[in-house]
């Protein structure tokens, strides 16, 4: 048992932490979030240059072949920004889907481009709903000769803003789910960013979009298994990102308790303010401990399914709750869109249901541990 990072990880942490402070300072992020412009091409190119797209990918495909823990350490620091954009959606999740399901040719074509930042491939899985599961896939796919025709609307696609292509889950004539690569500029593809209390989410409609049959990733009809397995490996990385976000929220909240005065004393002297911080710390630590243990399980090749779902539940709920408790401490000033808490608050609400709500993942965790009879 050893709860320390190793030397490499300490270095990754330092480099990523310094990068976030220099390249994605809070003052810049508050402006970008307010404008809802969260895909920042220059920042993305720098991230690609640092090798942080495709950290889990083998070197032969342009990745860096790092461990899950290594990758988690970097994402934790990115979450402290929080650095927005498709670093996870393209660089971790989509890359994993292609690696797990793609033919050699598809991997050769797509992965180096994803890892280099030239291609931004965005998963577009469920058509609607709070769930993650094959029942949410409604977009149809019909085949005629070598051409597939897609029809449907992916109501909530995360990080579609900078996409060059989508990995769409579709339902074939036989009812099976397949994964199809769709070019962003294909005729019939429309991307409409959502307004509201979230960022980086768009509706992607596919209106009679035609793609070559060769664009199917993995076996036709076995798409859901592919997506689910890839998500199992990717989700803990997203959790590490949320853990970093919680850490940042925790730190500036504690700091505020030592600066702000009310009723003649520092607010941190009030038991109620202390209690908000206690709850915040528990949510942060709960997410952190589950996530890092799961990353370690994945690195060790041990069964991690329950841990993945537990981490996702704890991190999504934890980030959301961390922001709520921070709001209780900050009161009015924390509701100004120019305050860093607002960046996190918007993002915590956005990510709450990305790849499935906490409740959904709690149920998957129980199913993994105690299958129904």
């Amino acid at each position: 048992m050893d709860l320390r990072l190793n030397e490499d990880q300490e270095m990754f942490k330092k480099v990523a932490g310094d990068f976030v402070q220099a390249e994605a300072p809070t003052t810049m992020l508050t402006q970008q979030f307010l404008k809802k412009e969260t895909f920042l091409p220059d920042l993305y190119a720098k991230i690609a240059g640092l090798g942080w797209l495709g950290m889990l990918m083998p070197e032969q495909y342009g990745g860096t072949g790092l461990s899950y823990l290594d990758c988690g350490v970097v994402f934790e620091e990115l979450g402290r920004g929080p650095v927005p954009g498709p670093v996870f959606s393209s660089g971790v999740l989509a890359a994993q889907i292609v690696l797990d399901g793609g033919s050699d040719a598809q991997k050769q074509e797509l992965l180096p481009a994803i890892c280099g930042g030239d291609a931004i491939v965005i998963p577009a899985i469920g058509d609607h709903g709070a769930h993650w599961g094959p029942e949410t896939v409604a977009t149809t796919c019909s085949q005629s000769g070598d051409t597939l025709t897609l029809q449907g609307t992916k109501r909530h696609v995360y990080d579609a803003g900078g996409a060059t292509a989508f990995l769409c889950a579709v339902r074939g004539g036989d009812g099976g789910v397949s994964v199809v690569l769709v070019d962003r500029n294909a005729r019939g593809v429309t991307v409409t960013p959502h307004t509201g209390f979230m960022v980086s989410v768009s509706e992607v409609s596919l209106d009679g979009v035609q793609v070559p049959a060769g664009n199917v990733i993995g076996s036709a009809g076995a798409g859901w298994e592919l997506l689910d397995k890839a998500a199992e490996k990717a989700i803990p990385i997203l959790c590490a990102y949320k853990v970093g976000a919680c850490q940042e929220v925790y730190e500036f909240t504690v700091q505020y308790t030592n600066e702000r005065r009310a009723f003649g004393q520092l607010i941190g002297r009030f038991q109620r303010v202390q209690d908000h911080c206690v709850e915040l710390s528990i949510h942060m630590d709960r997410a952190r401990m589950a996530t890092y243990e799961t990353l370690w399980l994945l690195d060790e090749g041990m069964p991690a399914e329950a841990g993945v779902h537990e981490s996702k539940a704890a991190a999504s709920e934890g980030y959301h709750q961390a922001c709520s408790y921070s709001h209780m401490v900050h009161a009015g000033p924390g509701t100004d869109y120019l305050h860093p808490l607002m960046v996190h608050s918007v993002l915590a609400h956005t990510l709450y249901q990305y790849l499935g709500t906490p409740d959904y993942h709690k149920r998957r965790m129980v199913d993994a541990l105690y299958p129904r009879t």
Partner: protein, 404 residues
């Protein structure tokens, strides 16, 4: 006991008929604008115009403050009339004194209690008739829930007070006619004995108002730069402002009550009947039903607390801890309901639906969860007030002020 809001004496049955007919006539063309809030984060001119007009029409009849004397803009009616009017308005999702963005609901009772006869005659009728918009202007950058730590100064100079200072996070997106505020009139005085309550016309030279973009929508910063306010606009006497604030804050802190109910559950059920996952309607999902059950239990409690406070207020037996308890609980419920909506609908719940009033909109419910945890005091001050009123750790229970 009688929980029926609409069972009346013969006289009241007649009055109810009259009100109902009047409302039907005057809501024509505005049915889609039902539901009330003291202010809206949406900048909707049609809604604003309709509501202000409706308010002024009600005001002309004295129905906004039916129990106030006629000379102060009321109708001199009984508490039974008040109940009839409230229940009839609640059929449209409206709440008597909430419908105009005017803050009349708070200002008028305070003036009635603390104003001089001259002030009542000058200020009250335009307020109680909904003709002018007043903002409460209390929060300062360095004193949020600690309202008594007021740094804005008002120094007597001849027949005026000269006001300097800054207030933040106040008002809404529409301009005010008057600012209703706490100022420090004795900078060397003792805490709670150095403040005064001042009615400041918003168009006086030296008043500057700037929008602030907050989670809950637009609020404002108000700057006072050597603003000369006539001394006769001091309400309740010099250095007596904290006592005036007490009456004011009781209403701000949940002591007003209302008879209407929160509509969010019905709309969730509608959504769940009309949306499915994999061909099964959400309303049949056992997990969704459990989540709805929790919403119902809490919302019903919020509604009942609110109605209890209303009843106690208007029968002039104000509920001691009701307002603080309600405010705390209602805010926590709103926060929890926001998360519940996301559990049920996922990202759908975060997308605004401009086809419904803000109060009904899921995105607003979610956003106002964390966003409204502190307006007019925090969860923490709510609970402090509860403790004083319930007699926790003190031999005597503080009474709620009379605010009708």
């Amino acid at each position: 006991m009688d929980f029926n809001l609409q069972e009346d004496s013969p006289e009241m049955t007649e009055f109810r008929k009259e009100v109902r007919a009047w409302m039907e006539e005057n809501m024509q063309g505005g049915e889609h604008l039902r539901w009330s809030a003291s202010w809206s984060t949406r900048e909707d001119e049609e809604e604003y115009g309709f509501r202000r007009a409706l308010g002024e029409k009600l005001g002309k009849k004295g129905w906004l403050f039916p129990m106030f004397p006629e000379e102060y803009g009321g109708a001199g009616l009984s508490v039974d009339h008040q109940f009839v009017l409230e229940t009839e308005l609640s059929r449209y999702g409206l709440n008597l004194t909430h419908i105009f963005y005017t803050l009349a609901r708070i200002v008028a009772p305070v003036l009635l209690h603390w104003g001089s006869e001259e002030q009542k005659r000058e200020f009250l009728p335009p307020i109680t008739r909904g003709e002018i918009v007043v903002w409460q202007v209390l929060t300062e950058p360095q004193s949020g829930s600690d309202v008594a730590n007021c740094q804005t100064r008002a120094i007597r100079d001849g027949d005026d007070y000269v006001v300097n200072g800054q207030k933040v996070m106040v008002g809404h997106h529409l301009p005010p006619d008057a600012l209703w505020t706490l100022v420090c009139t004795d900078p060397d005085g003792k805490r709670h004995e150095n403040l005064s309550w001042l009615h400041i016309p918003a168009n006086l030279p030296g008043v500057t108002i700037q929008h602030m973009h907050l989670m809950m929508g637009i609020k404002n910063a108000v700057f006072f730069d050597n603003v000369r306010v006539p001394a006769k606009y001091l309400v309740g006497g010099e250095n007596n402002g904290w006592k005036v604030a007490h009456t004011h804050l009781e209403l701000e802190h949940g002591g007003d009550g209302r008879v209407g109910t929160d509509p969010v559950v019905d709309r969730v059920v509608d959504y769940c009947r009309n949306h499915d996952v994999g061909g099964k309607p959400l309303i049949d999902d056992p997990h969704v039903r459990d989540t709805i059950a929790d919403m119902i239990l809490e919302i019903n409690t919020v509604n009942r607390m609110n109605r209890r406070i209303f009843w106690h207020r208007f029968v002039k037996q104000p509920h001691a801890y009701g307002g603080a308890q309600f405010r705390y609980y209602q805010r926590m419920v709103r926060l929890r309901n926001g998360e519940r909506l996301q559990k049920i609908m996922g990202a759908d719940a975060l997308i605004p639906d401009h086809g419904v009033h803000e109060v009904l909109d899921f995105e607003y419910v979610i956003r106002s969860g964390p966003g409204q945890l502190h307006g007019g005091g925090t969860l923490d001050t709510d609970r402090l007030i509860f403790a004083r009123r319930a007699g926790i750790g003190r031999a005597t229970k503080e009474q709620a002020p009379d605010t009708v």
